[in-house]
């Protein structure tokens, strides 16, 4: 029987004490264990930033790539081995600034991977500049007069991009977060999970207390139906994005892999790739 301890390795995280990312790491480890996945059957692909280090702190396969590109790497990996459990992780800078294009198109493409964003509304590793998730007026090293642009709305973006799984959680709520990641991993397509993961060093506005005060759990909203996209969008807008839980899920939409014509049922990395002589001859005939 696999337990979350099997997903611990010997590397000591270099996150600040109190960083929200510790809980996200713990939730991924617990979710994988709850799903009875063995460490070698999981790969975590991360971007760059504090959150990017996460792939190195879990006893599983892990790739720490380049800034903003965790998603295309993770999708390529999943296409090469459709049996593998693939989780992509990153921060709000990684996913919503430099990598925003990939975020939207990964959502559209719907390859069966899980994307966990550690959203702290600030750039931490570069020591405190504004993020696309910083609220307008937020004072940082790069916005001394307060951020001019409004904060990006990831849930609305995800919903309007055709997401089949959209969820949000808060890093202190380990139980809910674990359950959501589990559901995301079970989901047959692309699962988008935004996690409020406070930065205790550079963000003195969006603190643990601030989130506790402002968040509404969808489980407390009576009759909320996560299969209704219109209601999901309305609710997200109504609560200004400060809700947690599974916001939307479409369980009927097949994943990208299910739709690709001719795509091998066996993982591609196990395929016999030597072409047969008659196959080559057949291909050459078209040019004669």
């Amino acid at each position: 029987m696999v337990t979350f301890k099997d997903f611990r390795n010997t590397v000591k995280p270099n996150w600040c004490p109190g960083c929200g990312d510790f809980s996200v790491q713990a939730a991924i480890q617990r979710a994988a264990a709850n799903l009875d996945i063995e460490p070698h059957e999981l790969a975590v692909v991360s971007g760059i930033g504090c959150s990017g280090r996460l792939s190195g702190y879990i006893n599983s396969y892990g790739l720490h790539g380049i800034h903003g590109r965790a998603l295309p790497i993770a999708q390529g990996l999943k296409m090469a081995n459709r049996d593998l459990n693939v989780i992509a992780t990153g921060g709000d800078g990684d996913g919503f600034a430099i990598g925003m294009g990939h975020t939207i198109h990964s959502i559209r493409r719907n390859i069966d991977i899980t994307y966990v964003v550690m959203d702290n509304q600030i750039y931490g590793l570069t020591k405190g500049q504004t993020s696309p998730r910083s609220a307008a007026g937020f004072v940082t090293k790069s916005t001394p007069g307060g951020a001019i642009e409004p904060s990006l709305k990831p849930l609305e973006v995800a919903l309007s991009s055709g997401a089949t799984f959209v969820a949000q959680s808060f890093s202190t709520d380990l139980k809910e977060l674990t359950a959501i990641i589990e559901e995301g991993m079970k989901h047959r397509g692309f699962a988008f999970i935004n996690v409020f993961s406070p930065c205790v060093t550079y963000n003195k506005v969006n603190t643990y207390d601030w989130f506790k005060e402002h968040i509404t759990k969808l489980s407390s909203v009576e009759g909320y139906d996560p299969s209704n996209r219109t209601e999901a969008m309305r609710t997200v807008m109504e609560y200004e994005g400060l809700v947690t839980g599974i916001i939307y899920q479409n369980e009927n939409e097949p994943s990208y892999q299910e739709k690709v014509i001719g795509y091998h049922e066996e993982p591609l990395n196990k395929a016999d790739i030597m072409i047969k002589e008659e196959e080559l001859n057949e291909l050459m005939k078209e040019f004669m």
Binding site: H40, I66, A74, G262, N269
Partner: protein, 583 residues
Amino acid sequence: MLHQLSWKVGGQQGEGIESTGEIFSTAMNRLGYHLYGYRHFSSRIKGGHTNNKINVRTSTVHTIPDDLNILVAFDQETIEINYKELTKEGVILADAKFKPVKPEDCLAELYIVPFTEIATELGTSLMKNMVAIGATAALMNLEDEVFQSVVNEIFGRKGEAVVQKNMEAIAKGHQITNELLKDQVGKFELEPGDGKHRLFMIGNEALALGALAAGSRLMSAYPITPASEIMEYLIKKLPKFGGTVIQTEDEIAAATMAIGASYGGARAFTASAGPGLSLMMEALGLAGMTETPLVVVDTQRGGPSTGLPTKQEQSDLMAMLYGTHGEIPKVVIAPSTGEEAFYDMIQAFNIADELQLPVIVLSDLQLSLGKQTVEPFDYSKISINRGKLKMDELPELEDKQYFKRYEFTEDGISTRVVPGQKYGIHHVTGVEHNEEGKPSEAAGNRKKQMDKRFRKLQYVHFDTPVFTDAPNKEADVLLVGFGSTKGAIEEIRPMLDAEGIKTNHAHIRLIYPFPVEEMKPLIDHAKKVIVVENNATGQLANILKLNMGHHDKIVNLTKYDGTPFLPLELLDRVKELLTDGDI
């Protein structure tokens, strides 16, 4: 009878010019001629002058010629733009519809044939190109039947009647030209072809087929001229092999997705041109640092920026050798013919797997889009070597112990395992790392890992790093090139020889690591080294000087107006350089 014929068809883009050339050349290929076709086109969908020039020969050919024997014109612009290429025995076959006028200084004869009118009489003006093919058949004394199989394939699914009509259009064009041109009939009759079955394909198709034969099952790519045909070909074929092509949101995703798939153990690749390669530079660094095999095709076109997207250039060379920040080991290979394009792709995948690094296959627009005769591929030459990739069971590790994916070894190459394997867990990062892949900034480890990665370059196995044709022990001139300039260089050597100038030819196919050993005797035994390349700054010449010295005798011969080298033009340029100097 002739051994060679140069034929061109021109008109407005979207008018069927391409298919006219296609039908003519496919028929010639089936008769066993050697062909080389080059298309002039613009970056727009409809309108704008386009032409397709085809060199038909009874022996091997890798270039278009300077001159032209037959010009089929569907508008006056085609005549204006192309008439200067015509020899004085040349012929213009022009559609009566646009009331063609022969330019004053045109040496060739203008014959006005009612292409459109005949086609319209037969049912639709669309068949005017078939009438033109019939007119060509008259000049070449070809039987109409040689076009039958091609017409069957193109129009077969539209029914027997359509096939009949098109064959009738050819016959009508043939017949009326016979009547109009009486004394010209058969003027351009070629010696018969050898009837052998050869491939007639663009370089991009050879590259794509090479990737397929190399076992690539996943291609991630973003459309761009002149690379798109590679993804378009493979999306048709890969599903039959269990794989697919993913059109990504940009070239950064294309390259990183291929890296992800390769990390997962599949053979994956991407293809693009200059602007896309610029976007992929950071990904190349990741592949180099994480020792992930990656094959990238760069079909060079006119740069910089958007540059000349539909024109020939070879100016990405330095960027491919030195692009990406920091220092990574990388292999750059440059095929120069369709055959090489195919086999080099297989070698590229093998080298990438063996050495666990990025391999760039450098093509250029002329090679990628030029439609050429290619000898059928030899199945026995296809081999797949995945190097130290270990996909079977691994020895047990202690709990929490990581697999040494970046173990220090004598050849610098470590055993590669992929996600999903038990006892293979390791970390992969673009951060400097230790043998287990865990981040490490320690000075000693850093140096050892850098040395390990670069040590791999000593083990590049590439079958022909330099194509050499060096009959002269001591040469007056060594002609050096890479990529599609090969054909033009081959053409002028007998001409130089006839003038008493002894030449050797070295076409560099492995550009990095540079084949110093192979090049040394060739340079030592040449009075002058002329480097022929399609760029402004003489990039290959500079690389030659950097690796070989001999600055005194290495001379640049560059062309960067967007058009390929033509043999006679190249001949003049070489002779100019020789009279300049001390030979």
